[in-house]
Symmetry: D2
Subunit: 351 residues, 4 copies
């Protein structure tokens, strides 16, 4: 039995923990040969595919490491052209792969599903710091990203307090507000703005002014995809035109421009950027990623292909790749955490 | 509406986050008056009860703080004598309490249930770093304790590696192995010993020797309640005789004595002790404790007393106090995480 | 004996540790009354000055806290007009201040010196995360800022590695490169660009290209005041026009624009911003700030005014405020750490 | 030019940073061949010495790692017998070593000096978390150990506060009190007990009782070598009889036995143990270790042997190995930090 493993898409803490668990389980339980494919799908599509065998020792000591020992790529797409697809399938055959484990985001899952339909047996493992993959209520990397943002909010709190300022912190999360929501609560933000709830700038200003009156600073945690009621061209342009989610002219700076004229306090904006993607995974994410990796190995050994590992209601399971590809999981408007935020007095920018 | 809040039993990261959320929700939603009772049940039993009003500002800025701003007590028991019970109930009446929120462990929940039966409306919030309260699949404080132990394991790893030693680390957890299990996996322990699985010393030694042969050090993570097959008088005496769970002669040192004669490598033991109880809660625990506190406030406002907040299958809910009191939640022998550990090659001391 | 204490200028980890040590030493040794002045010089200039007495308990538990319990202001200047000066001096007299301890940067020291010449006895304590105050070889807050930047660099490393990118991280430091230099070394940056050494863009690109050839990613740590040979209008405009050092169009983004056309790899930029100013001080900074605070108290009690606490060659001492005001301490071009960086192969952007 | 490098004695954060800097500087500046010797002097004494060549890539990415990639040994002594010495010198010759860099503590420096006198050119690099090597005012690893202990004290603070307890924390440091002193100050200990100042148990109890009266908990930070006036057999036996500094019956537990009968509050003791030795070095230690390693390379290239790298008054330099061997650097009784501690109200156990 010979199994390939690759990591696709953006960096995410816990990738190595998945690689380690997949490998160790396949080696111990099935005596399989595990091939690590380098640089994501790019390594599998290349005229001579880039692979290395993963022995037991090759995955020892990587549990705590951020990044991926296999490398990744954002853009490689084996489905882009018929030639690319053919090359990829031919490579898989030449390598003698009985199955492939793809650790990636919704884009990678779409590719995985496409390759599955061409006959390559694939098991997917959901990977997103944004926590926005369908079928997975908590993905590894998310807890680490939340921890990084929370720590930044704590640091920002002291500056806000010392100077009686309004401090805006922009987080990652794309079209979903999970990171901003959880980190905002954990970091004691006074206002949390999410892509799911278009914000009323006057409502935001009202909170700041009321706090000014009580001689208090204000911390605003805003997800990168958030926008004011009426829409924000700047932000949409940014997400469409650029491969780089950390851009000038993001929502934090736009919000600052909107807010400053309405307030006495100085308003400052910080865009956290790539630090949210990297670093050693939290213990929570290490355990979760280890479980995901082991679960993927079990699915491979059981021959349950064209599926992605899931976590639902606290239970590991799996879901058809077709149901996952190219979809997002936003924060539902009736999510208990939104309700909790409102009830303890966190403003969500609602009119 | 006047509501009392108290924290009972041992220190636990997240207590202040619960106090803050209970208070903010009751103030905002019900315009209630919230009384913080000091030093746990001791403050409520005292001839003149020790209370202070909790205004909005009194609970601002405490989210991140470890410990409890209200203080706690380990031993005070209003049910110990009829006089104590009468005094406690009279105090509650004198203070005009419409309900009481008790944040505590299984012992506190037993007291809460007893007082409920005497007519004092009580809502409980489960509190345990050990994650061992019935009805609650993940309690606040646990993630922080796991993070503390994991960090210690990481530090110990480097020493084990540099010196080719066998390093034993003893964690808290009482009769349940949750901390040792999750931290052991997150900290890449080679062997994890739990109270739920009596260990075979020869099986443990075999793992160490096999690693010696491959020139590798070994890290053993052992829960304080673990014991060898055949039983361990030392450990049982320790848990029964002493108010202090961090004692000389604990399982780490006993295990070291057993193991050293069987190995070439030096064996070293570390007992982590009270550091596992304290410190600022992780972001995960802050969010969870905030949800628990808010949920307790909702139960109070809905008049749903004699109940404890729960988390089951990822959903907040509640359970009758009678079903919780004086019980423990051990790691079930068919728990998926045990299976995961075995499948990736972690030894559990099984023969 | 009645002594005032104020904190001026930007936030800096360790301010509370200084306030605590000044207060505790004056209370214990001199039985002095200590008055905390709120919001920096603004609180002392106000028609009715904003003060609160600092008792022992008021400064207990603040050692670990970031920010300043007294608040600060960036812009208040008692020397701005003769009226402001007169008001300030009258307030000091009305409050019965025998001396004033000013914890601040070079701007605050200039004000302190000016007020001293008007007869108000002042002792200064140097405060700068940038480590750029004359007479002080290591100021509190710097170690914390370096630790924050280093952690960010570590997180960025994993993303750079996973994607084979060139990652640029912009640090604070104003006209001095201390933060970029120490954090760059501690965070294993491949290239470190400082305000003291104008960089040759071609030399920077050469390092990146050579690393591309060896299939390695590159991390560039750049101080906010750095500029290319020939000068950078963007950067200078930014520092001159804006009160906010975290601006669009900073050096990181400018460098990215320069570098991207010269390379195959993607180039990404992150501006760390205000997170560098806040948060709990490192143990090193707590000890240093405690020593500075105590030293200030000793100078006050010895009647040695118009002086600033210093650290030189590892020894605490003092220096005349006149020698400090309005000056900066850049990284000397013969500093051993620059030499160390070069010798271990870190590029400094030199042609 | 062929240079050997080895690490001797106990684990210490920053060892890898030294190895990296020594290697990179020798490779870049001298085109030297660098041989890493495994397991300390044990690897050099072995009939067939254990070595591996250190190329540039072999030391890339190790800056942040705790431990030593070369391994170490505590007991190997090439001077133990004439045969061992002869074997060691013969091995060095066989390997063609032009010089040897020894990174180790006072014991290793004594061996290094002895081998130097037999004609093997050696440069020493001081290594001790205890900060007690003569000629070196701040050694790498110390800042990390202080940070680890400080974090533990912070965690312990919250438990002490919640329960109104007396909490004792025992630190490493052997015969010197540096770790206990700096961490005690940074962690806001109320009492700090050092090997250099025999403590008066009644004075310690008095502090605790006075704090009890003010309803405050007490944190005591005690160095492992501390002892009461009159001497402590337990402790001395421990240090003499055992290779393991983390022992039952250490000073923390002895102090607890002494203190409990004198107080109302519960007294709890925690022995931090091996966690103080391990883990990733702080940024401060990474910079310091990098400088030490580079300095060692410069001494090797300059042919300045039989010397150890030093840091004195903030300057890198060197000292004859003969002046270092088998000595300790205690905290001088007139050290400014002791004075600072007393002046801000920290008790040192003095009568």
């Amino acid at each position: 039995m010979r199994i390939g493993v690759l990591t696709g898409g953006g960096d995410c803490p816990g990738l190595n923990a998945v690689i380690r668990a997949v490998t160790k389980s396949l080696l111990r339980q099935a005596g399989a040969q595990v091939l690590g494919i380098e640089d994501g799908f790019a390594g599998l599509m290349a005229p001579s595919p880039r692979v290395r065998e993963l022995h037991w020792d090759a995955v020892s000591g990587i549990l705590m490491q951020g990044g991926t020992i296999l490398g990744t790529s954002n853009k490689a797409n084996p489905l882009a052209t018929p030639e690319a697809t053919a090359q990829t399938l031919a490579n898989a055959q030449r390598l003698g792969l009985d199955a492939l484990v793809v650790i990636g985001g919704d884009g990678s899952m779409a590719i995985a599903h496409g390759l599955s339909r061409h006959g390559l047996p694939i098991v997917g493992v959901p990977k997103t710091i944004d926590n926005d993959i369908v079928g997975c209520e908590r993905s590894f990397g998310f807890d680490t990203a939340v921890a990084t943002v929370t720590e930044a909010l704590e640091r920002i709190q002291t500056t806000g307090q010392s100077h009686s300022r309004v401090m805006i912190v922009e987080t990652m999360g794309r079209y979903a507000g999970w990171i901003a929501l959880e980190a905002g609560i954990a970091g004691a933000a006074d206002v949390i703005l999410l892509p799911e709830i278009d914000y009323d700038i006057e409502a935001v200003a009202r909170v700041c002014r009321e706090r000014e009156r009580r001689e208090r600073y204000t911390v605003i945690c805003v997800g990168e995809g958030a926008k004011p009621i009426g829409g924000a061209l700047t932000v949409e342009r940014r997400l469409a035109d650029s491969p780089d989610p950390i851009r000038l002219g993001g929502v934090a700076h736009a919000l600052r421009e909107q807010l400053q004229p309405l307030l006495h306090s100085e308003v400052r904006a910080t865009v956290l950027g790539h630090v949210q993607r990297g670093g050693s995974p939290t213990p929570f994410d290490r355990v979760l990623a280890t479980q995901f990796g082991n679960q993927a190995a079990q699915l491979v050994m059981a021959g349950r292909h064209d599926r992605m590992v899931t976590l639902q209601q606290g239970q590991l399971g799996c879901i058809a790749l077709a149901d996952v590809a190219h979809q997002h999981r936003s924060v539902p408007l009736d999510h208990p955490l939104l309700q909790t935020a409102r009830q303890i007095g966190v403003a969500l920018g609602e009119p």
